[in-house]
């Protein structure tokens, strides 16, 4: 008869970027069930809406997470502009799109480095982060911050990028693409890496639809729910956009989807730089949100689809602001993918959903 043991995993673990706790129920090295536990980073940020008015709150939304920082300020600004019926100038939409796609490049490079570290390939980890430094230098040159940008606010963007700087960004991205293409060979074609990733943590398409998962986690199981296809903001101006999908459903497919999305984002940034119109970048918002007005908005962050909801009450403080981050929905998918795997594969599967626990438990 097989013996059942319970092994606690986390909250401190070398492979986890952020603290999450799982109780793994094992039978002789195979995981039968995994029960998650959260709450280590809960800061009560949704309650701060009572104290900070809608112009100051954008600096709080930036600091929810270090990796998806620009995405949250972008989503917040879009949602409150929708609530107050503010129309922002087109140049601001393009600038926000450029920063957001650069944010996606830096987030995927960070994640690829962590994935390499989790299966023991530290040299690859360092090479990925070395390339990421070029993107962070672009951020610092144009906005003043490497990770927390403070570039977006209700009504537009706060900094402008001149034409020489845009040409400089385009050249830097060519160098990034060149250096990065040497590294993708190590992820996608190396024998020892493939033996850790192929056929591990399989999730079928029907399971992915039942569990409503989002982001590259879902696109690797051939389920497309990319919000960029809806064409909101600067994404409506692209000539064409096809999300990258894969049919594998295992960890290798998820690594492949994210590795290829970096190339796609580089192309999107270069296209937006070519098409950017001249004009203003900021419209000062007047007044306050109306009483009882509600608005909701969705945005495609590096980890998946993020949903924002805002409600006004006639004063300059919002009544309620809600952020539903992609990892909150993907946790159920992670728990399902862990069933039936070996104990040594658990860190790899948890990392492939790209957990961002500080976003989940604001």
């Amino acid at each position: 008869m097989a013996k059942s043991t319970v092994i606690p995993f986390g909250p401190q673990h070398p492979v986890l970027p952020e603290p999450v706790h799982l109780d793994l129920v094992l039978e002789d090295e195979k995981v039968v069930e995994a029960i998650p536990r959260l709450g280590f980073v809960h800061r009560g940020l949704e309650k701060l809406v009572e104290k900070k008015d809608y112009n100051q709150y954008v600096f709080i939304t930036e600091r929810i997470c270090g990796i998806c920082s620009f995405g949250h300020s972008y989503g917040y600004s879009q949602c409150v502009e929708h609530l107050m019926d503010i129309e922002i100038p087109p140049r601001a939409e393009y600038l926000r799109g450029i920063w957001h796609e650069l944010s996606r490049i830096h987030s995927h490079l960070l994640w690829l480095g962590l994935a390499a570290d989790s299966f023991g390939y530290e040299n690859l980890f360092m090479q990925c982060w070395k390339i990421r430094e070029r993107v962070l230098d672009i951020f610092e040159k144009t906005t003043g911050g490497r990770v927390i940008l403070s570039a977006c606010n209700v009504g537009g963007t706060l900094y402008d990028i001149s034409d020489e700087e845009l040409a400089g960004i385009s050249n830097t991205l060519d160098i990034v693409r060149d250096e990065y293409s040497h590294i993708t060979g190590a992820f996608l074609k190396d024998n020892s890496v493939r033996s850790r990733l192929v056929d591990v943590g399989y999730l079928s398409k029907q399971q992915a639809l039942d569990l409503s998962i989002v982001g590259p986690f879902a696109r690797a199981s051939n389920v497309n729910n990319d919000v960029r296809c809806l064409g909101i903001g600067a994404y409506g101006e692209l000539a064409e956009f096809e999300p990258i999908m894969s049919e594998g459903g295992d960890c290798f497919a998820r690594v492949e989807v994210r590795a290829k999305e970096v190339f796609q984002s580089i192309d999107i940034v270069k296209e937006l730089i070519d098409k950017i119109p001249a004009g203003e970048i900021f419209v000062k918002p007047k007044g306050s949100p109306a009483e009882g007005a509600e608005a909701s908005m969705r945005l495609e962050q590096p980890r998946g689809e993020c949903y924002y909801y805002a409600r006004g009450n006639g004063t300059k403080f919002l009544d309620r602001f809600r952020i539903r981050t992609p990892t909150s929905i993907n946790i159920a998918g992670m728990v399902t993918a862990l069933k039936g795997c070996e104990l040594a594969d658990v860190p790899m599967i948890i990392l492939t959903i790209d957990p961002c626990i500080s976003c989940t438990e604001r």
Binding site: G44, L209, S212, I232, Y307, Y309, I329
Partner: protein, 148 residues
């Protein structure tokens, strides 16, 4: 740039199960469930769904803390996360969650923190549920108990 429109609709509390089943039949995707405090003991739950490529559909339900709200985690499994969160932060009773933490999901220090506006008293008073900062009164008794 196309303007993004989302829909808001108000439904009654008894129709929650019916709405969830009809969304599952049309293979819609579950997006979000959250609560808003509208008044002294009045909350509004908002369920959001979408069918591929369409704007979000938000359904709002008005409840009080005495109502027993049926859970939708039997139809949409991922909702267990949000229902536990609502129970911890707002104090609304939701029945039948498939993975129920019974109030221990976030381990918040105050009772139902988001159901009321915050006061200075909250920081410094006895309202705190489990205060890890209170020093242990009788250190010797604890040490002796541990040895045995």
């Amino acid at each position: 740039m196309p303007k993004y429109t989302d829909k808001f609709e108000e439904i009654d509390k008894s129709k929650i199960g019916e709405m969830a089943k009809s969304k599952k039949d049309t293979s819609a995707r579950f997006i979000n469930l959250h609560a808003t405090t509208l008044g002294e003991d009045l909350f509004q739950l908002t369920y959001s769904f979408t069918t591929d490529g369409t704007p979000t559909e938000n359904y709002s339900v008005k409840v009080t803390s005495a109502d027993a709200v049926p859970s939708i985690s039997d139809t949409f499994m991922t909702a267990f996360f949000f229902e536990n969160e609502i129970h911890d932060l707002f104090g609304i009773n939701i029945e039948g969650i498939i993975l129920d933490y019974k109030g221990d999901f976030y381990q918040v220090a105050l009772d139902r923190p988001m159901a009321r506006p915050s006061t200075d008293e909250d920081m410094y008073s006895v309202n705190r549920k489990n205060d890890a900062n209170t020093p242990v009164k009788d250190v010797d008794a604890v040490e002796k108990g541990g040895d045995e």
